[in-house]
């Protein structure tokens, strides 16, 4: 990252990114560093060797309150306060409710719902000079993806909590959610690999995107950077869809093969 000149829209700001180790979270971390922010990445895994050296790394699980307390004291020790929280950590379980076990519920809701709630509750008090929270919602929080029952429901929870935080903690805290569509991450590649004809499935999915391509983690990172910046100072309480036009189109596409 050293050869990138910071654009500075986040200069002087501190940020926590949960699930920041890979995929969308990592793209946000890299973009925030480029924009001048001091970044703490928290993830359940070990720090990858090629992770940006500017970022602080904390191995932590957002479904565990003790880990969140550690995150809080780490941030307090490093910066004394916090400007930006990105609740990006999330997981999916590919099941209908009939197949979903109590343990599945605990695991998924622990990360996707409790984690967002608990990180926000513990870190808002560090936002002494005001702050920004960005949650990762999903287009599936509005309309259903098949066989992702509690994932879809957990994202609707995120949308609801986003509005509540904005309403209860404005004007000091702004809170928005980003609802990505199909972003090309390991998770999406895995979805195509189980198709009968992965290449055909990919072409079909592509044809449903008015933008003519799938999303990249950096697409989400750009919006997360704008939302975190002072340029977005009137944006709060919203769930912004960024999906290449996928959900602007009807699910029917008779011309498709």
């Amino acid at each position: 990252m050293a050869d990138h000149q910071p654009t500075g829209t986040l200069a002087g700001k501190s940020a926590v990114i949960t699930g920041g180790g890979r995929g969308i979270g990592r793209a946000i971390a890299e973009r925030y560093i480029q924009a001048g922010a001091a970044v703490v990445c928290c993830a359940r895994s070990e720090r990858p060797d090629d992770y940006p050296s500017e970022a602080h790394w904390l191995k932590a699980d957002v479904s565990c309150m003790e880990d969140i307390k550690r995150l809080r004291s780490t941030v307090e020790g490093l910066f004394g306060e916090l400007s930006i929280l990105v609740n990006n950590a999330g997981m999916q379980i590919e099941k209908t409710i009939l197949e979903t076990t109590d343990q599945d519920w605990q695991t998924l809701m622990g990360v996707n719902a409790f984690g967002v709630f608990a990180c926000s509750r513990e870190l808002i008090p560090l936002m002494h000079k005001g702050g920004v929270i960005i949650n990762m919602g999903s287009i599936s929080g509005n309309i259903a993806d098949p066989c992702l029952a509690i994932y879809n429901a957990s994202k609707a929870f995120v949308h609801g909590l986003t509005r509540s935080i904005a309403v209860d903690h404005g004007p000091g805290i702004r809170c928005n959610a980003i609802s990505p569509g199909w972003i090309m991450t390991e998770m999406a590649h895995a979805a195509f690999s189980v198709a009968k004809d992965p290449e055909k499935a990919r072409q079909d999915a592509l044809a449903r995107h008015p933008a003519g391509r799938f999303g990249k983690p950096s697409d989400i990172a750009e919006l997360a950077t704008w939302l975190a910046s002072d340029a977005a100072s009137f944006a709060t309480g919203q769930c912004y869809t960024l999906d290449g036009g996928l959900t602007a189109a009807s699910p029917l596409h008779p011309g498709l093969e």
């Binding site: 309309i143 993806d145 198709a195 996928l246 602007a248 189109a249 009807s250 699910p251 029917l252 011309g255």
Partner: protein, 253 residues
């Protein structure tokens, strides 16, 4: 005629524009069956014997005035107005001529405006229910239906605005937003080509409920919105689409 006293719409007077079309006829017959005095207001007569017919061009202001004068002299009120007249044009905006654009807005939007405007004086006498026709296409787009999508978005906004303005006069205003209803227009949408039957079958299977809607499905909702059981329902857009738009696009995996 079974003049039973328990028919919920007995003594109600209903006007249905586009009442001779596929969905319009089903609406007229249902309202009639539930006891209402029903007038199908349309360009061409094609009605059930128990449904009265009035010639009406929804794009023409004088036609709306004449229609309401007729209703005033015969009933002095209207309880239910269903704005069901509508057309679609299967084109992108680049292919759509200004005349075509103006024509679809004249029928789908101006028609709803004009008929409602002149019905209000007769509806506020006893309160009533106006039911507009939006579409799921007013929320999300189907390819090559650009002007149609735009007219339905306009009807959605008009529905909310009318509900705000006339709620205090005990006039409820709602819109029904159908998905794919099995009518001749639907077959037309899938074209004449050799693949049309295949598309018709494939699109049906995308619906969670695995069938297309019927005019009777729509008439069921019109009946409910028209009646007193929907007395608190106003200003809303009622999507009726077999679950089609509850789902993310269905990738063929």
């Amino acid at each position: 005629m079974n003049a039973s006293k328990d028919r919920p719409l007995r003594d109600r007077v209903a006007v249905v524009t586009g009442g001779c079309g596929g969905i319009g006829q089903a609406i007229c017959e249902r309202l009639r069956k539930e006891g209402a005095e029903v007038y199908a207001a349309d360009l061409v007569r094609q009605t059930h014997p128990d449904v009265k017919y009035l010639e009406h061009d929804v794009t023409c202001e004088q036609s709306a005035i004449d229609l309401m004068q007729h209703m005033q002299s015969h009933h002095d009120r209207i309880d239910i107005l269903v704005n069901a007249a509508g057309i679609e044009i299967e084109k992108t905006i680049e292919e759509t001529t200004l005349d075509e654009w103006n024509r679809i807005f004249a029928i789908n939007v101006t028609g709803t405006f004009l008929t409602s405007k002149y019905a209000l004086a007769l509806m506020r006498k006893t309160g009533g229910s106006i039911i507009n026709f939006g579409s799921y296409d007013g929320f999300i787009a189907d390819p090559r239906l650009s002007a149609y999508c735009a007219t339905k978005g306009a009807v959605h906004a008009l529905t909310r605005a009318m509900a705000c303005d006339h709620g205090p006069e005990k006039i409820r205003v709602n819109a029904i937003c159908p998905g794919f209803i099995d009518t001749p227009m639907l077959k037309g949408f899938f074209g004449e080509g050799s693949d049309s039957e295949r598309y018709y079958e494939a699109a049906r299977e995308v619906h969670p409920i695995r069938r297309y809607g019927t005019p009777e499905d729509v008439a069921n909702l019109v009946f409910w919105l028209a009646g007193d059981e929907a007395g608190y329902a106003t200003g809303q857009l009622w999507v009726l689409d077999g679950g089609l738009t509850a789902q993310v696009q269905q990738m063929r995996l």
